[in-house]
Amino acid sequence: MKRIFRSSETYLLLVIVAFSAVIACINPNFLTLENGFDLLKSYSFMGIMAAGVLVVLISGGMDMSFAAVATVAEYVMALVATRLGGNILSSFLIASAIGAALGLVNAVLVYRFRIPTVIATIATMNVFYGVLIMVTGGKWIYTLPDWFRSFAGINVLSLDGPNGSTYGLSIVTVVWIAVIILSSFILRHTVVGRGVYAMGGCGSDRGPVERAGFDVRGIHLFIYAYMGFLAGVAGVVQALLVQTVAPNSIVGKELSVIAAVILGGASIAGGTGSVAGTVLGVALIAIMNNGLTLMRIPSYWYDVLVGGVIIISVVINALQARRKHRKVIEIERSKA
């Protein structure tokens, strides 16, 4: 019981409930199934990338290149789909394979050459994105194949709206849910997942993790390849949602995805964070954004609100950490 009250997920859930109550009072449309399904669909892109960022953050690392990786994967996937054809499965395969391969480049730089993760990924971000734009000339792709278009419209669960329209649980959301289940399973129930936590818990020191019997190289390869794989999946999802491929539509969103993961309780220092928290972090961002629209607050207030929420939440976290630290000191003193 105490654990439930102490966990950051609980606080986050309370904040989300409070926010939702306020929004629902002002505009009852917020609490409709239709709006809920819509949010689940449009934020699946962010949610999928957030799951990958979570894994990287838990390991004590940082990835700035995932948006560039997602863009490259999305663009190549779209080129293949329009020029050579294929189907939705091949599209996902191509994009996730490209993403994983680019992620492995990061892993090699971080593991083999011991370049700090932030730096390695800032460098590769510039390389991946720069080369993509140079080769493609930054052209947008407007006409995606019909099978791609129709797949995006599939609803797994269809309901009829009051005015004859249909809405429901989009197939895109199902992809997100699959990613959530997969990430959660890997982090909680596999050796590699526990190794990710172990690495984060030991800071940048590999020694203890190695002595505990973990394959540090394998874990590094997994972390960044998995981030890249999810970036690739997210790239396809973005293309499904928007139905055009613009090379500049994803890059620049790195920090807002990272912010969502941190709001969800993951620590920059590594070692902590959960998939459930990350989903709540994304939900908070989504609800704030959606709420502003529904409350008819001009959209230019959005950043002020999000920035304020981030600062308040990190301040609360810091104050809590300090209080905990003081308690430890007091206990040690009373023992002495």
Binding site: F113, P116, I122, N126, I268, V304, G307, G308, N317
Partner: protein, 330 residues
Amino acid sequence: MNTEAVAGRSLRATRKWGELATLGTILVFTFALMWCLNPERFMRTSNIQSMAFQLPELGLLSLAMMVTMVAGGINLSIVSTANLAGIAAALVMQSGQSSPAASVALALLAAIAVSALIGFANGLLIAFVEVPAILATLGMMTLLNGISIVLTRGYVISGFPDGFKFIGNGLVAGVPMPILVFIAAAAAVALLLARTAFGFELYMVGTNPVATQYAGVDNRKVLLKTYVLSGVLCGLAAVIMISRFNSAKSDYGASYLLVTVLAAVLGGTSVYGGFGKVSGLVLSLVILQLLSSGLNLLQANAFLTRAIWGAVLVLVMVVNGILARDGGKS
């Protein structure tokens, strides 16, 4: 003296000179390559002048990033600080002062005051509330961005007095004004880091905050000053930026943010804190500028430049990593 200390010192020496030597070599190589590729145009006065106009914005922002990295932190809010400071200056000039001179003076004051205040707020969060720097400045970045958008509604504020435009576009004896501002700022920061008690304490806090605390240094004051300094440097960058564009907007220079980290690290600043010198940063900025101007003359895609910047960074990190490993072995 024990052998470990000696080994440590020689390792530090190879690290220091190794890095500057690597950078110097790359600089000479880049320069030669770009000159060979553009034999006629590269060394023309016009090209050198245009490089001197372009470098200072990124240069000042990189200085702002570097000082916080030396302290073991990071400042993700540099670009948004610069934009808000620029908007403040622009609003002052729009408000219609009696004389242009007063308007320019007030605008400069506004830019510096706003940026110092933001730096102070960052410093309070990081030093006194003990929020990790990356989180505090990430939140600050979003918040400042929001305030800038609210103030301008996303539009451009343009049209400044000639005196103000001179700061970003004027020439003093053939030397562009922005590079003079940058040289003055870089020299001031270099002196501050290398010759003052504050500079010494800054490196100490970045290397080992706990030991520094026990050595009787007030870490919190040092960090607070560092973030105010970082803010003021952003304010200077803002003045040059809006003067060059002759306008202020909420999202100018957004792509600079991660490039400043790239420039600082390329110049030998450590992301773990405690290391980093202005001389290394200046070398790395010149390398980046030579690459971008040279490629520009070749009519290469601007994104090729970005790709090459990234590749150079990887190369330097890999070479330094190998040098450090060999130095450690011998």
